[in-house]
């Protein structure tokens, strides 16, 4: 491994299902908020206020504490042109950074190609969860896609240790390129060997890891713990990706209880991760970006909220200048976009800032244009 401790690392946390921005970062003193949300509103005394206008949801205490320490940038009014209220299409837009047309290559996959052009490290990017997000998908870019670090590997159904090591030994030989087998076969060989090698290296991460932090037992927290384990193992991984269970934030009904649990899980995991890195003196190496595909309808439907538009994102880390960025979209009825928060802050500005200012790669190529930076990186 050629891990340079100074190399900046990006952790992306995807909250799919579209969290309700209005009840996440709450404009609690706005009279419209109170009108639009007769059942779902969070009362001012429960909001974790950051000033006299806005504040965090009460389940986000650990995030609020990080905010108070100056570690959280709140990116308000984030969205993309011509909002689409489909989860899949919207997520695609976030993943490909291309709102205008269907694109297939992911912005982080392109970033990985930039960071490791000669494919020297099979673990330049690691994703935790089931299936590779399109954000990381670019043909020819190798990304380890891990369901669970503890059980990750090839042929996991062969569980007796000696049988398994024999099986993997054969696998490695089967995937060794053979002379004159052609480019596709060589590619398959390389992919198989990379996967095996990646799994081999990754499997050492949990045993190298020790920490006083105890993450919660939910999937997301465990994946965040895996992210910490991989980072701390020093494999030279630069991009780490995971997310809450698909669709979890899609709270059309019975929002309050679910929402409380979700943000409690997520905030605790983010805070645990931050302090885990701190404990290992690597806090300055990592920036976290937490996003969702769109916001939800301003007016509640009685027990939940329907699909909306403008949202909020968070960037967290020691390298982050904490504070509020962008403008909270107006709740004036005539300022809404078909009943939704009007986005005012192109998501690609956040991407460009992270790429140029933090990851030190040129965002122009990756995003297909120049986007104004937001000043949230130190």
């Amino acid at each position: 491994m050629t891990a340079n401790k100074k190399d900046p690392v990006l952790v992306v946390l995807q909250m799919s299902g579209a969290f309700d921005a209005l009840n996440t970062f709450i404009p609690y003193s706005d009279p419209h908020y109170i009108d639009y949300r007769p059942h779902l509103r969070v009362e001012p005394e429960h909001v974790l206020a950051v000033d006299d206008k806005v504040g965090f949801h009460p389940a986000m205490g650990p995030m609020k504490d990080l905010y108070d320490d100056g570690k959280v940038a709140v990116i308000q009014g984030i969205g993309y042109p011509n909002p689409i209220r489909s989860h899949f299409r919207s997520m695609d837009i976030w993943h490909t950074a291309e709102p205008a047309k269907m694109a297939t290559e992911g912005w982080l996959g392109k970033t990985v190609a930039d960071l490791d052009p000669h494919k020297e490290n099979v673990l330049t990017a690691v994703s935790f969860g089931r299936g590779l997000p399109r954000a990381l998908a670019v043909p020819g870019v190798s990304v380890a896609s891990v369901g669970s670090l503890e059980t990750y590997g090839v042929l996991t159904s062969i569980d007796a240790p000696d049988q398994r090591s024999e099986a993997l030994d054969i696998f490695a030989r089967m995937y060794s390129p053979m002379v004159g087998s052609g480019p596709i076969n060589d590619y398959l060989s390389q992919t198989g060997l990379d996967a095996l090698k990646g799994a081999d290296i990754l499997s050492t991460a949990p045993e190298q890891y020790s920490s006083s932090i105890e993450y919660n037992g939910d999937y997301f927290s465990q994946w965040v713990k895996n992210v910490a384990q991989v980072h701390l193992a020093g494999f030279g991984t630069r991009v780490l990706y995971t997310g809450y269970n698909p669709g979890a934030f899609d709270t059309h009904a019975n929002q309050p209880a679910a929402f409380h649990r979700l943000w409690s899980d997520v905030s605790n995991a983010v805070s645990d991760f931050y302090y885990d890195l701190k404990e290992h003196n690597t806090g300055e190496e990592v920036v976290i970006m937490l996003f969702t595909e769109f916001g939800r309808r301003v007016k509640e439907n009685g027990s939940g909220t329907d699909h909306g538009s403008g949202s909020v994102a968070f960037v967290v880390g020691d390298a982050v200048k904490g504070g509020l960025y962008g403008e909270y979209p107006s709740l004036e009825p005539d300022k809404l976009d078909e009943g939704d928060l009007q986005w005012n802050n192109d998501f690609r500005s956040t991407y460009a800032t992270i790429l140029d200012k933090w990851m030190q790669v040129d965002s122009h190529e990756i995003l297909g244009g120049n986007y104004e930076h937001i000043d949230f990186i130190k």
């Binding site: 489909s86 089931r130 299936g131 998908a137 043909p139 090839v154 042929l155 696998f171 992919t191």
Partner: protein, 467 residues
Amino acid sequence: MADHDISLIAHLMRRAGFGAQYHELEALTEQGYEATVAALLDPESQPSGLDLDLAERYFIEWSHFTRGVPEYWAWRMINSKRQLEEKMVLFWHGVLCTADSKTQSYPTSYDELEMFRKFGMGSFRDLLLEISRDPAMVFYLDNCLSHKGAINENYGRELLELFSMGVGMDGEFNYTEDDVKECSRAFTGWTLANNVPGQPYGRYSAKFLYNPADHDEGTKTFLGETGNFNGEDIIDIICKQPAAARFLSRHLYRYFIADEAQVPAWMDTPPNDPDTIKMLEDEYYRSGYDIRSMLRVLFHSDAFKNSRFALVKSPVETVIGTLRLIGDWTTPKPGFEFIFDEMKYMGQELFNPPSVEGWHTGREWIDGGTLVHRINFTADFVGDVNYPGIRGMVDRLASDGPTIEPAQLVDGCLQLLGCYELADETREMLANQAGKDGVIHTDTGDFSERVSKTLQMIVATKEYLYA
């Protein structure tokens, strides 16, 4: 003798269907290749073998308005006796693409699949006409937003670029930007009768409407012909073009015969096998654009018969093929929805092709994540002798005698999986592995485990990634 070659039948059923169990292959071999092809090409005369009434009563969420879900379709792929019919539906779903992520209407998506079932092996002209008035498509590519005097070119362009001709061939462009505009003008007024609210509200499908008041009646010049064209005229002109013959032939070749360049590269990348493409093009004209006739020529071509293991299996083929092989999900039971996720994790989400261009195929199916997922998925299933299909393999191998040589065990497994072949080195490695614990007794308790381990190693090979 080739007519009764089981490995050729295995190949045919992998390509023209989603694979078959060995005893089914034997029965088909008995009938012969010619007869099997004839039956595949004539689904209407075959019983579907599907007990959809039972399935729909069991999976209560599959009511009349939610048949457009991946699980429902997957059920049909697994259980339909009309294998080529479903294979062609998947083919057209990947060529004439719409995505549920935009249309958000299960009933409308379902109607589209039914249309593919009905027209997918008929005349290409009829199919292009049907897709042009398919409500999912009209909405997906915004033709409902294209008006007389204010065209939206989205459908007009993709009809030419991705559905019928392609940007170019032999290094020349097939049409101009003006053709795109004129084509779009001809399709004005082809719209939707009703607006369908997205899920979970819309429980009825969108319907096509031709609105003459919004149709541009002016004169158009399209691909060199001039007249007051409507959409039908445009399709007639398209179908005459050599580019249409080439486009359809290359697509069929890439889906059924061998991996080829991706669609956007076709203008500048000649076909790998120009003779076979020419043969299909000729049949296109001879038969009056009849897809079934082209398929008949294709399945009887030497190129097809000699193309064993020249295609990387798609995720859908991998998942459906594995479930057909193990003999599971022939009757309803809980937990079927997972298979939708499995295909998605391997890189192919039914009803959501990544773009209007469809899925990229061949080696692009495989990356570090999808490879591991594919191997582990397949190995998990073939390693479980409780599945009837796997149990059948164990019993069959045991019936050969009280002991079996390691090489015979490997060869037997390869045969029963569908006449697979391995590189000599790989075969030898697996035989050594199978024999390392001494003589293989077929009548002892550990025999099924030794079989299942060998099966697991086979499905992990590079060779097994191919169909």
